[in-house]
Amino acid sequence: MKNLHISTTVNGDEKEFICGSDETLLDVLRDRLDLTGAKEGCGTGDCGACSVTLNGRLVCSCLVLGAEADGAEIETIEGMAVGDNLHVLQRVFIEKAALQCGVCTPGILVATRALLERNPDPSDTEIRYWLAGNLCRCTGYDKIVKAVQIAAAEMRSA
């Protein structure tokens, strides 16, 4: 199998990597770039644990080929905090106990940030539908929705 040489931007940093043509962006992030914040919960786009943004669009990185990252801009959970400043969503998720095991949390945070960038004042229903592709098996989603609302209010007043 011929490997591909890919140049991309991840969390604002230029990155180059070699990958097989059948490797997914999730494989590349985790195995080639050592960014293990995105998780493989299903590999088929059903759980959202691997959520990242690709050129500003929220996607499942398991449904993107690594090769497609060439020339693209990717944002992952690792780029969400700036230095030691957590993003408001990250801080509120901790404060409001919006995670239990935490394995779905990176995907949910990436997805939620994408939501609030488009809709700074979502209803509970809008949050729930936006996050329908992010499975969480621990929380029953209640504290997640509440945390998103609290973070959104704080971001609006900032």
Binding site: G41, G43, L99, P106, D124, R137
Partner: protein, 747 residues
């Protein structure tokens, strides 16, 4: 200082909502879960799985695969030890099939190669010659005398003659004269129920990184609910000494009982030993569904009698559970808990454990209880409807309370069921109006909880801070609760404590994180460890002050003279004492090792409003409230989280989740697309009401809370659907096609 129960004390930290210590790691992607680690020179392992539900393995030819460049090792069951104890032998056989493949997805061989693609290619070059055998996946079919037999000779002495050999054990519980009880009833309802198998559905697939040398020394990193149990099982199956295998638990992405055993870990160790290199295995989601440990499916008959004023006169249940391809003990817990919420003069439950050609069952949150209680609570609800009685009043009237002879044998101590029912009755949810096609359902739930083996070590640092070392993986925020209890007991602030979860070689044995035991048992051990440290601190201070140890007391985080007669000394804080520890005898620590009992059973009540679309059978949950006795809620956020998460898993069980097998015995829905766990948009807020009826078996009154909340939703939803549609539902899940079929039959 006596280890008294002082649950009525004024807590300073326990009961507050502090932030969890692992929060930052988990919101930034830094936390390392099972699949998030690698080792230099690491190989990638993959497992070849049976495409047949039941087949004799005639031969396995690995020569072609071994010849592939990059393949470093292939293992089969011949590479694992065969322990004499059936418990371990079955686990080994489940990890790599021995003579027969017993279910679709059963592991048959495994390969380790230099990269994932090579491992995948190698699997296709392994030639397995199967003789396909007849299979059985349904519990009732498996009990028939002429059913295909999964394993011969595994029935124990409790099974009567005339059953298939698939029936491995039988249980009976209860007391009183059933016949006399039923004779007193004004109405007797008998119904049969079926429930589908469900899966814990943790988002993180199993993953491990193993390294085992020719000298029998090994390291294992894996996601598990219990690293010590993993060590015990792996040491048995690899034929190595427990002390030589160090197991480190990664962060764990959900377990719910499903990560209390091993599937890939012994395989990775065997591959590593053979290849002489570290081996990583991660399961795909398909493998998780086909070949880990889903829960039982069941078939049940229930008969309950009631007087017209709502007194239950007798109850009887026959429970048949299949737990997959090996003998399993789950029906006993269903049989014991079925009628636990009721004070009954006559009650009997009979249970049968059954084998089928399905994956070996693992624990799932209150194993055995949800389906049994679903059946009982459905019939109680139907009796209430029959007499036009309020279902909460009837439950209060018949509720088990202190002094009630329980349906499983002992007499209840302090329990919180009546208080919980009364809280539900008083809640605005219970009197809120309902609309067209809407129904309200409720159910009680129960779980035993337990304590178990626990080791905790606690040490003072010279800056007056505390390290707590424990051995139970943190699934839902337990590091916070443990730190809180240490801080509470020592009288210092929460941020002065850091709790870490360590590997098998760094602390004494700990049972698995299960049975809702961690906050109870690890908390108990932490309190005792803190008390040991306090004793040592008081002794040091006594020396400093030159007075008797007994004359020093510990109060508000400081040693003080016990009274005017003890002398006039300024209190010494923990930090003061820690600062001079070098001079007063060296490091100060406390530890506790014990097997905790006295966990205290817990009850919950769930209320649900929902609407059923009469044209499509679609159920929409509109409002949901959970009431539960937590004993003492150490961290209320995480107690609520357990109540909410358990409720939603139960909602999934009730409405859509199921293992679907085809005629060929193969699992048809091994993915999150068609194994339908609830998504965020399916659900309303899950309201919670925590009651605190202290458990006398814990110094702070703590009861386990994690398991009980999955018990009531099945019946609560079913009762609400039945009331909304006017048709009594008796099969789970209540998927739209099933509801529409039932309601169509009505007209």
């Amino acid at each position: 200082m006596a280890l008294d129960s002082d649950a009525q004390r004024d807590f300073k930290i326990v009961g507050t909502r502090v932030t969890r210590p692992d929060g930052v790691d988990k919101v930034t992607g830094k936390a390392r879960y099972g699949a998030d680690i690698s080792a230099p020179g690491m190989l990638h392992g993959r497992i070849l799985r049976s495409p047949h539900a039941h087949a004799r393995i005639l031969s396995i030819d690995t020569t072609g695969a071994m010849a592939l460049k990059g393949v470093k090792a292939i293992v089969t069951s011949a590479d694992l030890s065969r322990p004499e104890d059936n418990f371990f032998a079955d686990i080994g056989d489940n990890c790599l099939a021995n003579e027969k493949a017993l279910y679709d997805g059963h592991a048959v061989a495994a390969v380790a190669a230099t990269d994932k693609a090579t491992a995948k290619a190698a699997l296709r070059l392994i030639k397995v010659d199967y003789e396909v055998l007849p299979h059985v996946t349904d519990v009732d079919a498996a009990m028939a005398p002429d059913a295909p037999v999964v394993h011969e000779g595994r029935a124990d002495e409790t099974v009567a003659e005339g059953y298939s050999q698939n029936v491995t054990s039988h249980f009976e519980f209860g007391h009183g004269d059933l016949e006399a009880g039923f004779a007193k009833a004004d109405k007797i309802i008998e119904r049969s129920f079926k429930t589908a198998a469900t899966h814990q559905g943790y988002i993180e697939p199993h993953a491990c990184l193993a390294s085992l040398g020719a000298d029998g020394r090994g390291e294992l990193w894996c996601c598990t609910q219990g690293q010590f149990n993993v060590r015990t099982m792996c040491a048995e199956l690899l034929g190595i000494q427990a002390s030589q295998l160090r197991v480190t638990a990664s962060e764990i992405g959900g377990g719910f009982g499903g990560k209390t055993t091993v599937f890939i870990e012994p395989v990775a160790l065997a591959l590593s030993r053979k290849a002489g290199k570290p081996v990583k295995i991660t399961m795909s989601r398909d493998e998780v569904f086909r070949a880990t440990g889903p829960t039982i499916s069941s078939s049940m008959d229930v008969k309950i009698g009631m007087t017209s004023d709502g007194r239950i006169t007798a109850g009887k249940a026959n429970l048949r559970y299949q737990g997959g391809a090996y003998p399993n003990g789950t029906v006993e817990f269903g049989a014991q808990s079925a009628f636990a919420a009721y004070d009954l003069a006559a009650v009997q439950t009979l249970g049968w454990n059954v084998m089928t050609n399905r994956p070996k069952e693992a624990a799932y949150r209150a194993p055995g209880a949800p389906v049994a209680i679903y059946a009982i609570e459905s019939v109680v609800d139907e009796l209430c409807q029959n007499f036009g009685l309020d279902p909460l009043d009837v439950r209060i009237k018949n509720a088990a309370r202190k002094g009630t002879l329980s349906s499983y044998g002992p007499t209840f101590n302090d329990i919180g069921l009546v208080a919980t029912l009364e809280a539900a009755k008083a809640h605005p949810h219970y009197s809120a109006p309902l609309g067209v096609n809407q129904g309200r359902g409720l159910s009680c739930g129960f779980w035993f909880n337990f304590g178990g083996n626990t080791s905790v070590s606690l040490h003072l640092n010279s800056d007056g801070t505390i390290g707590v070392v424990e051995g139970n993986p943190d699934i839902g925020g337990s590091r916070a609760s443990i730190s809180m209890m240490a801080a509470e007991e020592l009288g210092i602030s929460y941020d002065k404590v850091r709790t870490v979860i360590t590997d098998t070689n760094s602390i004494g044995f700990n049972d698995v994180t299960d049975g809702s035991r961690v906050t109870f048992a690890v908390g108990l051990a932490t309190i005792k460890a803190a008390r040991a440290a306090i004793k040592e601190m008081c002794s040091r201070v006594a020396k400093i002050w030159g007075i008797d140890e007994e004359a020093v007391i510990w109060e508000d985080g400081a040693a003080k003279p016990s009274g005017p007669n003890a002398g006039d000394f300024d209190p010494m804080t923990l930090a003061d004492i820690a600062a001079v520890a070098d001079n007063t005898g060296g490091p100060i620590a406390g530890h506790h090792e014990g097997n905790a009992d006295g966990a205290g059973v817990s009850f919950g009540v769930h209320l649900v409003d929902l609407e059923v679309d009469p044209e499509t059978g679609m159920t929409t949950v509109l409002r949901y409230t959970v009431f539960q006795d937590a004993g003492k809620a150490v961290h209320p956020d995480y107690v609520e989280g357990q109540m909410q998460g358990g409720a939603v898993q139960g909602i999934g069980w009730a409405l859509n989740e199921e293992y679907i097998y085809g005629e060929d015995g193969r699992l048809q829905n091994p993915g999150f697309l068609d194994y339908r766990v609830p998504v965020a948009s399916d659900l309303p807020p899950i309201e919670t009401v925590i009651l605190e009826i202290p458990n006398p078996g814990h110094p702070y009154g703590v009861r386990g809370v994690g398991e009980t909340p999955i018990v009531p939703p099945l019946a609560a939803i079913s009762n609400a659907v039945s009331r909304a549609t006017g048709v009594r539902m008796a099969e789970l899940p209540m998927s739209p096609p099933r509801i529409l079929k039932a309601t169509s039959a009505k007209v």
